[in-house]
């Protein structure tokens, strides 16, 4: 039996409890994910086949290097001790030292964080207004040329890998037209001073999230504008713009806000690819280099940073989605 909603204060209190219970569950999930990230990252090095030190020494398996690796990773100690030590180090911000250079992992992070944060911040700043604007524009002209154009382009572009799109854009805008630099090589860390070098990376980074969000906003807007409540508002003489932006838009944003979580995954992937493609010395480049050199402590440190960023941003996105859709039970 579906209990018809209780009207009184008791019902209100129960719903307040629901929200609190949801929040607790969501935070617990976030904590679980954090632990999972840390454990997974640690377990992967444990899973190295055979003698880890020999495996990591790779191309130059001289005994001195193997001994150095064994020393750096404390491979002589039992696994659980190493896990505790490593996790304790994480809490203090001590991420270990690189196998290849012997420098602390934290310095790698400090060097790479600037360009990456700049790229991500620029992208997110442009992402939301651009997606909402285009989505609303398409929904307002549903079925007409503008809508068909926006819908087709977003549909087509949103599955295209960034590297392929990026390379083609470079070919056209840097090679043929010569308008923009092909890579960020030679601009150092101070990318802000060379905005031209940022145009293509940000454009490429935006391509997938914008397309997916535009489609969701558009569909949500069309549904909301066709809903009985929008019809009722129009019937009762509420101005068109107000129906669109005050009544329909908040409802249209709910699914988009939920998609934000997925978008974060894409952005983190995209950052890695775009940095590799445009040779930007950010965290993605550091990660790719470390993977190539099998520099385990650096990989671990970066993976923890990326993983925790994803966990935190996911949590935030869920909170935002919950705000826009007070009714829907956002997964937790």
């Amino acid at each position: 039996m579906t209990g018809s909603g209780t009207g009184g204060g008791a019902g209100q209190a129960a719903r307040g409890g629901d929200l609190r219970a949801w929040l607790v569950r969501r935070l617990l999930l976030g904590a679980g994910q954090t632990v999972a990230v840390v454990l997974l990252v640690f377990a992967l090095t444990e899973a190295l086949p055979g003698d880890a030190a020999v495996a990591l020494a790779g191309d130059q398996p001289d005994p001195a290097r193997i001994a150095a690796i064994r020393e750096a990773l404390h491979l002589d100690r039992p696994a659980h001790e190493r896990l505790v030590a490593w996790a304790a180090g994480l809490l203090h911000g001590d991420l270990g030292t690189s196998l290849t250079s012997g420098r602390p992992v934290a310095t790698y992070l400090a060097n790479g964080v600037g360009p990456t944060v700049l790229l991500a911040a620029l992208t997110v700043t442009l992402l939301v207004p651009l997606s909402v604007g285009l989505g609303v524009l398409a929904a307002r002209h549903e079925g007409r040329f503008v809508d068909r154009l926006v819908s087709s382009v977003t549909l087509a572009v949103y599955a295209v890998p960034e590297f392929a799109l990026g390379v083609l854009l470079v070919t056209v805008f840097a090679l043929r037209l010569g308008w923009l630099p092909p890579t960020a090589v030679g601009f150092g860390d101070d990318l802000l001073a060379h905005p031209a070098a940022l145009v293509l990376p940000v454009l490429v980074l935006l391509s997938r999230p914008v397309c997916s969000l535009v489609r969701l906003v558009r569909a949500g807007m069309i549904d909301a504008l066709a809903s009985p409540y929008a019809a009722q508002a129009r019937r009762y003489g509420i101005a068109g713009a107000r129906v669109r932006y005050a009544h329909a838009l908040p409802n249209a944003l709910a699914p988009a806000a939920q998609q934000l979580a997925r978008t974060i995954d894409w952005l983190l992937c995209g950052v890695i690819v775009v940095e590799a493609l445009f040779v930007i010395p950010g965290l993605g480049t550091v990660l790719i280099n470390a993977v190539a050199e099998r520099d385990v402590p650096v990989i671990q440190g970066l993976a923890v940073v990326f993983g925790l960023t994803a966990v935190v941003l996911n949590l935030g996105a869920d909170l935002v989605a919950r705000r826009f859709a007070p009714r829907a039970g956002v997964a937790a």
Binding site: M1, A233, G237, P250, R327
Partner: protein
């Protein structure tokens, strides 16, 4: 409302529909001409609404009453070809839809929903006065819509309100627009008697403010209680119109006659079992109870929703379980059927405890207790023919070979008035009433000893409901060994039963022979639920 001061001839109508035709062209959308296969949703309807009067438009679903009302709002189905005149007063026409939740924006607080409308009406005031004027109008509309505790409710989101509160908010919106015409679309469908009465009061109050009300309904009790003018609609045409008394006493059209015919004197079976004049609780009587419920406490998410010390059902007996929505009556039925597992206490069949869950019940136990769902359409697989689905009961529960099961299913369905050609189709091609009968057949094929029917008549229109009740009566006659549990909030359905148990807020309020409860109810809930609807007319404040 029934006052003589409103007279037809002298008063000018507030709104008027003149010879309206709404035709859907066959196939292609938006075609201009009336294609040969065109279908008229509304076919030459004329209607007048007067200030302070309630005009009822009565008809089965699909009769065109919603399309007619939508015309007053200036809305037509996409692609329809429309002719005729629609004259409405300046300003919006109020609309209270059947499902008020859909008309309230889920992302906005009630306060914002009402203020938006009020703001549009205070534009001529000086800017600094607008705010207070809006607040004042909102509060007044809430009061007029009988929305109590407005200060608290205004801060909530629509989904935090009860269904009744949502309906009143929608009504307050309509009043805020200053509408002189309000359309109420099936406001009482699926509601229990108490809620219905409250809605009747509300609409009567709206009319008293001098607003013309158009009431769309297939609920004759409500129509009789409210309408000043009655229009009977069928297949897009108005069959009959006039004051309800006239239409009622001298119906001209056979369809109207069938619709308005008094309920058959009694659906109850000719020879009720020996216990018509029983002692109150069944414990000490001669035949051992077939089904016995003892100290049952059912939970929903750990909240107790139903407490029942002792209730039993004798072989061949028909028990009605009556209560408002949320009283726990469906939970009771689902506990018995094994669909609701979260309960303490025990349910015994023939002295043997029934496992709580369906999964733990043996085939014989499954067959012995069957359940008919409230919404038959949801309870069928839409991809398989109805006949096959009905026959599966006999195959699975009684190990009957498929061919024999199909034959038995066809016979049972035919006895319920469903020809084989019809039941060979898939469920979407059957009407709600037909599917409900098929669902009954599906349960009967188990040869059950206890049959639980959960609100199987709610949501059906008058004629369909009546035909289903007739079939139930027939069932009671032809299968004297069958014990029936009828879960309902409908007086006519409850009247079928030998005994009635009244649930209120999860507790047994009253329990005894139906005849006694109908005549001399002891508990106020019983009185409210089982009181004959005629008394509403007198009660609706004049």
């Amino acid at each position: 409302m029934n006052g003589p001061e409103f007279l037809y001839a002298t008063e000018a109508p507030v709104a008027e529909i003149e010879d309206l035709r709404v035709v859907m062209p066959e196939g292609a959308r938006g075609g201009a001409g009336e294609a040969p296969g065109a279908r008229a949703l509304v076919d030459g309807v004329s209607l007048r609404l007067y200030a302070g009067r309630i005009t009822a438009l009565v008809g089965a679903s699909g009769s065109g009453k919603t399309t007619t009302a939508a015309a007053l709002l200036g809305e037509y189905p996409a692609g329809a070809h429309v002719t005729g005149t629609v004259r409405v007063p300046e300003g919006p026409v109020g609309y209270v839809p059947q499902h008020p939740a859909a008309a309230l924006n889920p992302a906005r607080r009630v306060d914002a929903l009402l203020r938006d409308i009020a703001r549009a009406r205070v534009r001529d005031l000086p800017r600094r006065d607008r705010r207070t004027a809006v607040t004042e109008r909102v509060l007044r509309a809430c009061a007029e819509a009988q929305l109590t505790d407005a200060e608290t409710l205004l801060r909530r989101y629509p989904h935090q309100l009860s269904g009744g509160q949502q309906q009143r908010v929608v009504l307050a919106q309509a009043l805020l627009t200053g509408a002189r015409v309000v359309i109420a679309d099936e406001p009482t469908t699926g509601q229990d008697a108490l809620t219905k009465r409250r809605i009747v009061d509300q609409l009567a109050a709206v009319a008293r403010q001098g607003i013309a009300v158009l009431l769309l309904s297939h609920d004759l009790d409500v129509v009789h209680a409210l309408a000043d003018d009655l229009h009977i609609m069928c297949a897009g045409r108005i069959l009959e119109a006039g004051p309800p008394r006239h239409v009622r006493t001298a119906p001209r059209h056979p369809w109207t006659r069938a619709l308005l015919a008094p309920e058959p004197a009694s659906y109850a079976r000719a020879d009720p079992p020996e216990t018509t004049e029983p002692t109150d609780t069944a414990a000490e009587n001669a035949p051992a109870p077939l089904l016995r419920i003892r100290s049952l406490t059912a939970h929903h998410h750990r909240t107790p929703v139903l407490r029942l010390p002792d209730l039993s059902l004798r072989p061949g007996e028909c028990l009605a379980v009556v209560g408002r929505s949320g009283s726990g009556k469906t939970t009771l039925g689902r506990c018995v059927a094994g669909l609701h597992r979260a309960y303490d206490g025990e349910i015994r069949l023939d002295g043997e405890t029934l496992p709580r869950s369906l999964r733990a019940r043996s085939r014989a136990q499954l067959a012995a207790v069957q359940y008919v769902f409230q919404d038959a359409r949801d309870a069928f697989d839409e991809h398989r023919p109805v006949l096959d689905q009905v026959a599966r009961t006999a195959v699975r529960l009684r190990a009957v070979p498929t061919a024999d099961a199909l034959a038995e299913a066809a016979d049972t369905l035919a006895a319920l008035g469903l020809p084989v050609a019809l039941v060979r189709r898939n469920p979407p091609q059957l009407s709600g009433g037909e599917l409900q009968r098929a669902a009954l057949a599906r349960a009967l094929l188990a040869h059950p000893r206890v049959l639980v029917c959960d609100e199987i008549t709610s949501g059906l229109d008058t004629l369909t409901r009546r035909s289903l009740l007739t079939h139930l009566t027939g069932l009671l006659r032809t299968r004297p060994e069958l014990s029936l549990v009828l879960i309902t909030h409908d007086r006519d359905t409850a009247a079928l039963a030998d005994r009635t148990a009244v649930l209120d807020n999860g507790r047994l309020a009253e329990h005894g022979p139906t005849a006694r409860l109908l005549e001399a109810p002891a508990h106020p809930t019983t009185a409210a639920l089982l009181r004959p609807p005629e008394s509403w007319v007198a009660e609706a404040p004049a």
